[in-house]
Amino acid sequence: MEPVERIVSRTVVLPTRDIDTDQIIPARFLTSTSRDGFGEALFRDLRYDSEGELRPDFPLNQPDAGDCEILVAGNNFGCGSSREHAPWALLDYGIRAVISTEIADIFRNNALKNGLVPVVVDGGTHDWLCANPGAEVTVDVAAAELSLPDGRRIGFPIDAFARYCLLEGIDQLGYLLNQAGAVARFEKERTWKP
């Protein structure tokens, strides 16, 4: 995983609440056995109509949304299925951070494992972001702060270990493998065996 320190980008805004992972990537695209290429399927049925034509009114299809790396979404983004294909699709498409008032647990975990930064902000900040699509903002992982164009800086919660892994580009598997001694001890000493 590449280190993620700060992301500076204009935002693209999807104000709908409860955007689930079936909308982020529909199940029919989950038969791939690789991690790559899911960007094409991102928001597939929202981005394209039944004829396969781009829907011009969908925010990601706006002419100036092409290079946006920060997605602002309605409350409870990423709810539903545990499919890691959802953060894979967002990253493959070019989205590197998601800002919402709430981000579903499994999606947040999956995002962090892949270098996609989940940013949870208060309602007031979220309202401002929704009212100002295209605003250039900065997600500073080291400081755990979101900076708005007017200079306001808003802290966001991020687990210390997840932040460390993002900043260093560390894969958590290495850390877990280093616990092998403790795991073996646990297996030997526990009072009942599964």
Binding site: P15, T16, R35, S81, S82, E102, A104, K113
Partner: protein, 467 residues
Amino acid sequence: MSDGLTLFEKVWREHVVVAETPQTPAVLYVDLHLIHEVTTPQAFALLRDLGLPVRRPDLTLATMDHSTPTVPVASFKDLAVVSENAARQIGQMESNCRDFGIELHGFGSASRGIVHVIGPELGATQPGKTIVCGDSHTSTHGAFGALAFGIGTTEVGHVLATQCLLQRKPKTFAIEVGGTLPAGVGAKDLILAIIGRIGVDGGTGHVLEYRGDAIRALGMDARMTICNMSIEAGARAGMIAPDDTTIEYLAGRPRAPQGKDWDGAVRRWRRYVTDDDARFDRTASIDASGLEPQVTFGTNPGMVVGINEPIPNRTAEPSFRKALDYMQVEAGKPLAGAPVDVVFVGSCTNSRLSDLEQAAAILRGRRIAEGVRMLVVPGSQQVKKAAEERGLDDVFRAAGAEWRESGCSMCLGMNGDVVPAGHLSVSTSNRNFEGRQGIGARTVLASPLTAAASAIAGHVADPRTYL
């Protein structure tokens, strides 16, 4: 003042390999890792790249369920798998399990089925265990007093390689359910009402514990229906303390402890209950006695009403208005009476024997309405066999429904069983998300009773009329 422990805390404590600190999450041991074909290929690929073995293949159990066809066939070779990709994924599951020494219930296994149906059925799901799977409905197994939750594919790789996960301890949330469920109202109605009450994000960051007289009165199939949809309230896990019902269910199952080990296990299992002086971070109460059959009217499971109640009017909210437009329903009117195209009885929520028995009780001696397509998909090959031994398949066929092989099927439509665009589906599954059952499909979540009643009526119908 209070040092009692909740059920969750007791299970959590027994599995902490390395305690959490402000800088690092806990290392949590996993007792049972369930795997299926869709969320594992990339995890096995990583193990192969790194030259790592599966640490505990004996604690890993595999099946195929998501992309498998449900049309009746004699063997896998005869199956028309929905696409080349799906066939490749299924093939990789077989080779991965073979190469890494994992027990696979694939085609040809009499125990194949939906991962959350076969775990309990085989007796692998037990009180006090930690259970994970690359599938959000892993919460189902909490019905046995296990701590069970869904994980992503990267974490599947972590568990394969180390049998552990890095986890922060979640908060606890008690759902107290008093009273008695009225006739015609079941576990599905109860969990939909709970989600409607606390909201689709109400459980985020929490493990739910369902408690109270109405929960104690439920059988294991019904408890699994409840815990299954914990994720639909945003909670990763839901738990119910084990009791006589749980122990009776597990007795004699192939992977349950046997002989002297059984007695010891039962003694230990009985300790997995919340202490009287334990405290939860949050509590909510609901009275089961006043509930009506529940149906969803929108595009998430929290958009739910009693079948004869008017759809609420929150059309000032753009997301709410969008959901009603998608569903082609009107605020202020009840959903009962809306014309139905498809009825699906199945999924990890409602595909066990008692679910099928309920649907059959309504269908027996009746015919589904002209123009309605009804699919009945058992949760596992064992459920299928048990249903056929009871003649339920004849009841379904005689009523005009299709009786299928087991699998996830039309719950998420990735195996080719899809609801056509614009069609209204009354489904016993767990998600009414836009496009979940097929592009443009309109899904109404309901109980097996309501689904069967709606199939007969040809419109969304109150099952109590048919009891």
